[in-house]
């Protein structure tokens, strides 16, 4: 019964999201596009953090590579959008394979530090390799051509782009969800709780971690590929450790224990930022206070706390 109510709520929310361009003010199309893309970014991060228990501080490397890949393909090859996204996913998966292979051997803090180091190395390369990436200024001036698959869509129209993003992210989220719910996902959760036990059961923990890392990386790359045309620019700050901190914050805000937690976190983060910056220039201060409260009192995040309470109450 409870799950039916939750499913109903979810369906209503999706209907609401589809209807946004007609029911909300124009600006919200941009806000929601951003929320969806960052939500996927955060959800991909949660695969390695919430499910597998690895805190990565370099996840933006994959997001950023996705952005740059799409930008470069659009500038130099002018391929249809879907093809660009596939290239983004491929590039980020490859990068995740390399970085992951080298990193998943390490534990906890060391893993965090190494992913931070790799992330910043990618940043440094993008920043200084001016001939390819245009350095600190980043790549701009690329326009979207066709969508691909023979579909004729004016991607330049923010409403149309929003619906495209919504569709792609919904599909990606479903795929990611199925992965999390599969036996593979269960093993990841087991690894988070007790890696030694899992390895005693005969499974290669490192391989599972690596596969999770690559999957997460490729979905982050997809998010990055969707972000570049939306922002009209691919710049090094998308690779910086401060960008890597965002999915961490969003996962915590929403709740790492539930699949949709990071999406909720993304919505909360972006909406708070938009509203609070209208009142004060000290948005970082407010964010810090909110984050501190969340970590101390609502460690399960907003969705996590709400759903846990709901499950308890409705027993």
């Amino acid at each position: 019964m409870k799950t039916k109510i939750l499913m109903g709520l979810l369906a209503m929310m999706i209907a609401g999201l589809i209807a946004v361009p007609w029911i909300a003010s124009y600006f919200y199309i941009f806000i929601l596009t951003e929320i969806l893309i960052l939500g996927l970014f955060a959800a991909s991060f949660n695969l390695i953090f919430g499910y597998t228990g690895m805190l990565s501080f370099g996840h933006a490397a994959f997001f950023g590579i996705g952005s740059y890949a799409t930008a470069l393909v659009l500038i130099h090859l002018e391929w249809p959008f879907l093809a660009c996204l596939l290239v983004s996913m491929g590039a980020s998966a490859l990068l995740a394979l390399v970085i992951g292979f080298l990193s998943v051997r390490l534990n906890e803090v060391y893993f965090a530090m190494l992913t931070l180091a790799f992330g910043m190395m990618v940043f440094a390369i993008a920043y200084q390799w001016r001939s390819v990436t245009n350095g600190s200024d980043g790549l701009a001036g690329f326009t979207l051509g066709s969508f691909g698959l023979g579909l004729d869509l004016t991607l330049g129209n923010p409403s149309v782009y929003y619906h495209v993003v919504l569709a792609i992210i919904a599909i990606a989220a479903v795929v990611l969800y199925l992965i999390c719910r599969s036996s593979f996902g269960l093993i990841l959760k087991a690894i988070r709780q007790n890696p030694e036990r899992v390895s005693f059961a005969g499974l290669n923990v490192r391989t599972y971690r690596l596969v999770a890392f690559v999957i997460a990386g490729s979905f982050a790359g997809l998010a990055g590929g969707l972000m570049a045309p939306f922002l009209r620019v691919a710049s090094p700050e998308l690779l910086h450790w401060s960008m890597s901190a965002e999915p961490v914050l969003m996962a915590i805000l929403g709740g790492t224990g539930y699949f949709l937690g990071p999406f909720v976190g993304s919505a909360v983060f972006v909406l708070l930022e938009t509203w609070i910056t209208s009142f004060t220039e000290s948005w970082m201060l407010v964010l810090g206070i909110i984050l501190a409260m969340m970590v101390i009192f609502f460690r399960k995040g907003l969705l996590g706390t709400a759903l846990d309470w709901w499950m308890e109450v409705k027993k």
Binding site: L102, L106, E108, Y110, L116, M121, I125, V205, L287, R299
Partner: protein, 289 residues
């Protein structure tokens, strides 16, 4: 030849300054298993407090060196009592997140209180000027930094190895439950160590102030440098922090001179290489999965 000599002196100077700033981070991790992301912000506070005391109140540099770190340490005690006590029993990720939140709060507060402008702190009269060494001119203040760094190292070694306080801290680091069973008040040890780490960060800030322009972003710049130092040297080992600091100093000093196209990349490459081949750092605690 003067190129190498200058590069070496420069590296030592940068390295020891980094050591003074980063060693507190290392100690806090070593004893408390907390990564204090706000370490850079505490360093910045030390520098800004020194600026206020020296430029606005008119105190001499030495007075600021004494007072500003104490002020920051008191703030650290408050932070510990009010916020950090909730997460000591939780895992490292939570400490990273909470201290990151504290970083955001301190950063913005500094900008609100002191404004966005650039501020300069003068070195004390005694230490201004320069000397000729190894074929190039070195500022007296740089030599002071090197001396302070080495004194600090000696002092810390003495503290940890020869005093009761040090032994208590090491005990608490090795096995907190056991230490508690032996009636050591680990709550106080924890607050004390965190405050000590903050004190060290602030000392770093005051010492760095005459050498660096103060601006609201200085905390962010230093925290990543501190992480690199601590990783290369070894999390939890303060002689390691010195080694890590000197290595990073060398990377900046020589890399800046001879390899400018990759000078942004090199420190992180160094950090990654250490983590890949000697994750304990050159002298630290266990790391593999």
């Amino acid at each position: 030849m003067s190129g190498i000599g200058a590069a070496l002196l420069n590296s030592l100077d940068i390295g020891l300054l980094l050591f003074i700033i980063a060693v507190g981070l290392n100690i806090v991790f070593g004893v408390l298993n907390i990564i204090n992301f706000a370490h850079g912000a505490l360093y910045m506070l030390g520098a800004y407090l020194a600026f206020t005391l020296i430029n606005l109140v008119g105190m001499p540099f030495w007075a600021a060196l004494l007072l500003a770190p104490i002020g920051v340490a008191i703030l650290a005690v408050i932070i510990d009592r009010v916020l950090l006590r909730f997460i000591y029993s939780r895992d490292v990720a939570d400490s990273l997140l909470l201290t990151f939140a504290i970083l955001l709060i301190i950063n913005e507060s500094v900008r609100v209180v002191w404004g966005s402008g650039i501020h300069v702190v003068q070195p004390p009269q005694l230490l201004s000027g320069s000397v000729e060494l190894l074929g190039s001119s070195v500022s007296t203040y740089s030599l002071f930094v090197i001396v302070i760094g080495l004194l600090l190292l000696a002092g810390l070694w003495y503290l940890f190895n020869r005093t009761r306080v040090g032994r208590i801290m090491r005990a608490a680091a090795l096995d907190r439950d056991m230490a508690e069973a032996l009636c050591i008040n680990t709550r106080m040890v924890v607050t004390g160590v965190f405050a000590f780490g903050a004190w060290l960060a602030a000392v770093g800030g005051v010492v760095a102030a005459p050498m660096r322009a103060l601006d609201p972003g200085m905390g962010d710049k230093i925290i990543i440098e501190s992480f690199i130092v601590v990783v290369i040297g070894g999390l939890g080992s303060f002689p390691g922090a010195l080694l890590g600091a000197i290595v990073l100093g060398l990377i900046h000093g020589f890399g800046g001179r001879y390899l400018p196209e990759v000078n942004l990349l090199l420190p992180f490459l160094g950090m990654a290489l250490v983590l890949l081949f000697k994750p304990n750092g050159i002298m630290g605690k266990g790391a593999t999965a």
